[in-house]
Amino acid sequence: MTIAEAPLLEDTKLGPKAGGLYRHQNFGTGLATGIILGFIAWALSDWLLQGSNWGSDMVVTVTCVGWVIGFNAGIGTFNAIFRWTAGRDETREDQLYGAGVGQGWKRYFKYCTDHKVVGTQYLVLVMVLFGVGGTLAMMIRTQLLTPHNQWLSMQTYNAILSIHGMVMIIATIIMVSGPFANFIMPIMIGAKDMAFPRLNAMSFWVVVSAVPPILGSFFVGGIDSGWTTYAPLSVQTSPGQDMFSVTIITFVVSVTVAGINTLVTVITMRAPGMTMGRLPIFVWASIVAGTLGLYAMPAFLMAQSALLTDRVVGTSFYAPATGGAGWLYENCFWIMGHPEVYVILIPGVGALVEIASTFARKPVFAYKAMVAGMLGIAGLAIMVWAHHMFTTGWAPNLANPWMLTTELISIPTGIVFLCLVGTIWRGSIWTRLPMYWVYLFLWNFIIGGVTGIYLSDVPADQYFHGDMFVTAHFHFTLLGGAMIGAAGAVCYWFPKLSTRIFDERLGKVAFWFIAIGIQVTYYGQFWEGFEGMPRRIGNYATLFQPANQMSTIGAYILMAGWIIFGYTLVHSWMHGERASANPWHAKTLEWHTPTPVPLENFLVDPVVTSDPYGYGEPEVAPTKEPEPVPVGTQSSEEGAH
C-alpha cells in the first residue's frame, strides 16, 4: 500500500457508540447546562443568604461560578476525568470521535481535541472579543470627541473603559497563542497534536465560559476601577467586580493549562531531528510566552481571589481600615501585569520573524542571538513590575533598582530588533501582504519602545504617569506591535488555516487604514499626554480638545481598517482563491504537509535534517535517508488522541 492510497485517519468509520457522552454534547448543551446551573446557584444562594452583610456579592459570585462549572460540564470538560476515575478510560475509537472524526462542521461547536479545530475556534473567539473591545473603544473615543460631553453617564463611561481594557487584554493574550500556537506550532515541530489534546480543548472552552461574566457586569452596575481594579476602590465598587474576578480566575486556569500544554508539547513531541537548535523562532516564541504566562498569571489569580474574599466574606487584604494595603494588590497585579505584556508581544514578534525570513528569502539573522534575546526579555520581564508603581509611594528607595532593570530590558529587545532587521538586510524582498505587517511593526514598535524609555525614567514618569501618554505608549506597543504581529500571522498562515488565500487587494486597503489610523490616533494621545490630560477621564478641559479630536478621528480610521480586515477575513474564508499547500514557498514544516491538513498532520512522519531557514543555501544531504512511514501503521498508543 503506498502512502497516497492509505486511508486518511479522518475517514475512519466509527461505531455508533464511539465518544460516549461526547456524542450528545455541544455548545448548545453547554449553554443550557450553564444557564440552568447558574440559575440554581442564584436561587439557592439568594434564598440562603437573604439579609446577610455580603449577600449580593456572594449571590453574584456563586451564580457566576455556577455558570462556569455548568457550562464546562455541559460541553464535556469533565467527561474524561470522570471516566478515568470510574476506570473506563477512553478507547481509541472514543479518542478519534473526540478529535472530530465524522462530525463535519459540527466539530467546531464541540469539545474537540484536534489542535487545528481548537486553533480555528480560538481565531473566531479572538475576532468576537476584538469586536466587543473595539466597539467599547469607539464609544470611549466618541465620548471624548468634545469637552464636557454628556453623551455617556460617568458610571457607564467608567464601566466601558474598564471592560474595554480587560476584554482587550484577554483577546490579545490569546490572539497569537490561541490560533497559531495551537494550529501551526505542533505542525512546525512535526508533532501529530498537542501533548494534552483534551487539556487543549479545555483551555479553549474555559475561556469561552470566562467571557460572559465580565460582559454581564454591565447589568449589575458595571465596574469603575479600570482593568487594573486597584484596591481599595475595587473592594467598594458594585457587584460587577465579583463577575470581573470570576472571569479572571477562570481565564487564568485556561492560560495556565495552555501554557503547560505548549511547553510539554515542544519538549516531548518534536519530530526526529528537530533539535532545540532547529526549532523555528515562532516555536521558541510560543514556549517563552507560555512559560512567562505560567509565571505571571497565577499572581493575578491570587490578587483577584484575595479581592473576592475581601468583598464576599470580609477578609481585609486590601482594606486599609482593618490593616490591609492597596499596595499589596498593586504588587500582585503588576507581577502579572508586566510579564503579561511580553506574553502578548513575543508570539507576535515570533510570527513576524517567520514572515520576514520567508518574504526576504533569507535565513533568520543570528538565530541564537534572537533566541537569547527572547529569553533575556522573559528573564528581565519578571523583575521590572514595580516601574508601574514609581509614583504610588510604595518603596521610593527602590526607585533606582527598578529603573535599572527596566532600562536593561531595552538591550535584549534591541537584539531581537537587530535580528529582525538583519533578516531583511540584503534580502530579496517579496512584498506580499504578510510582509507589509513586518514593516509596520518596525515603524510602530520603535515609537512604542522609545516612548517607553521616558516612562522608565523616574523623574519623567512623575510627570507622565497616569496620563494619556501612558495610554498612547502601551497602545502603540500592544496594538501597533503585538496586534500587528497577529494580523501578519493571520495573513501568513491563513492559507493553512482556511485552505484559501487572504485576499490581498482588500487586505492592503485594510492595512493602510490601520497603519494610518494607528499613527493619527496615538499621536493625538501622545499630544494629550504632553499637555497633561489624565487617563480614564470622560470629561476634559477645553484645552485638550484639538488633541482629542485628532485621536478620535484616527480611531474612526482605525475602526474602518479593522472592519475591512474582518470582512476580508470572512470573505476570503468563504470565497477566497484556493491555496496550494505551500503558497509562499516557505521551508518550515507546516508548509510541507497537505492543505487541508489531515488529522494527525502528516502523511509521512517527518524527519528533520536542518533548521527551516536554508534560503540561498544548497540542500544539505541528510546523513541518513529517512524511511517513509505511512501514518496509521504505528502503534496507536503513540497517537496523540
Binding site: T392, G466, Y615, G616
Partner: protein, 285 residues
C-alpha cells in the same frame, strides 16, 4: 545545532558573497545610501526632540518640570539615531532590495544567506549597553537631586477624597481647596487619602504621588514661576474621577503670608510656619 558539515557549507557560501562594503565609488555603495537616509531620519528626529516638547507641554513652573523637559529632550536625541538605523534599513530595503517577479505568485530568488554577523551584534550590543548606562546615570542623578533636603522648605498636607482635594498648612489652621504656594520655596507634600487611592498631580510642577488611604507619601517640588497651575487626579478613583481637579497658585512669599492670614491664620503661626518646617526638612532623608 548545526553540524560541522553544515558550517563548512555555509563558510563556502559566505566567501562567494559579493563584497558589500567594497568596490566602486563610495556614493554608489548601498552602505553610503543607507547612511544618508539614516542621517536624514536622525536630523528630523533631533529637530522634533528640540522643538516639539516645549510647544505642547504646559508652562514650566518648577525645577522638577525642567527636569522632565530636559529628560524628554535628551532621551529623544539619544533615541533618534537608533530608531533611524532601523528605519533607514527598512526604507532602503523597500526601494533597493524589492524584487518584482513577472508572476506575482512566484517568489524572488533567495537572498544572501547571512546567518549572523558578530561585528554587527557586538556593535549593537555595545551601543545599547552604553545608552542604558547614560539613561540610568541621568535618571539617578536627577532623582537624587530632586530628593535633596533644601534649606528653604515648607510642608503642606494633601488629602484626597472622592472627589476633591484638600490642602492644609500645618500649624496655621488654614485649610483650602486651592493649593497656594510661595515662589522659590521647596514644598514637601505629605499626601494621604480618606477613602480610595487617588493620584495627586500638580501638573505644571512636574511631579506626582499617589494618595493612599492609611499611609502618608511624600513628594517635593520647588515652584519657580508665579502663576496658576492645575492639580489633577491621576488615579482612577471611582464615579466622578473625571471631575476631580482643582488649581493652585504660585505667589511671592509675602503674598503667601498675607494669604495665610486672610484665611484666618494668626501672625505668629504664619511666621512660625516656615521656621518650624526647616527642622522637618533637615530631619527628612
Amino acid at each position: 545545532m548545526s553540524t560541522s558539515h553544515e558550517d563548512q557549507k555555509r563558510e563556502e557560501i559566505s566567501e562567494q558573497i559579493d563584497p558589500f562594503f567594497k568596490g566602486g565609488p563610495i556614493y554608489r555603495r548601498p552602505i553610503f545610501k543607507i547612511g544618508v537616509i539614516w542621517a536624514i531620519f536622525t536630523i528630523i528626529g533631533i529637530l522634533i526632540a528640540l522643538l516639539l516638547p516645549q510647544h505642547i507641554m504646559p508652562t514650566n513652573q518648577s525645577h522638577e518640570f525642567s527636569d522632565v523637559m530636559n529628560t524628554v529632550v535628551l532621551f529623544s536625541i539619544l533615541a533618534a539615531p537608533v530608531a533611524a538605523v532601523v528605519w533607514a534599513i527598512a526604507a532602503y530595503s523597500l526601494v533597493a532590495w524589492r524584487k518584482r517577479m513577472p508572476d506575482y505568485n512566484e517568489p524572488p530568488p533567495d537572498g544572501a544567506p547571512l546567518r549572523g554577523n558578530t561585528v554587527a551584534i557586538s556593535a549593537w550590543l555595545g551601543v545599547s549597553v552604553f545608552l542604558v548606562i547614560v539613561l540610568l546615570v541621568w535618571g539617578m542623578t536627577v532623582l537624587g537631586s530632586q530628593n535633596q533636603a533644601q534649606a528653604n522648605t515648607i510642608r503642606v498636607n494633601v488629602t484626597g477624597q472622592q472627589w476633591l482635594w484638600n490642602f492644609s498648612y500645618p500649624g496655621t489652621g488654614v485649610s483650602s481647596n486651592v493649593l497656594e504656594l510661595p515662589e522659590n520655596t521647596t514644598v514637601i507634600f505629605q499626601v494621604t487619602s480618606q477613602d480610595v487611592t487617588h493620584g495627586f498631580w500638580p501638573v505644571e510642577l512636574g511631579t506626582q504621588i499617589d494618595a493612599n488611604p492609611g499611609f502618608i507619601t511624600y513628594i517635593q517640588a520647588t515652584p519657580d514661576k508665579l502663576g496658576r497651575f492645575d492639580v489633577r487626579c491621576s488615579q482612577l478613583c471611582g464615579l466622578y474621577h473625571s471631575y476631580m481637579y482643582t488649581h493652585g497658585e504660585v505667589v511671592t512669599p509675602s503674598q503667601f503670608k498675607s494669604w495665610l492670614r486672610s484665611q484666618g491664620a494668626s501672625s505668629s503661626s504664619v511666621n512660625g510656619f516656615t521656621s518650624i518646617n526647616k527642622t522637618f526638612a533637615e530631619g527628612k532623608n
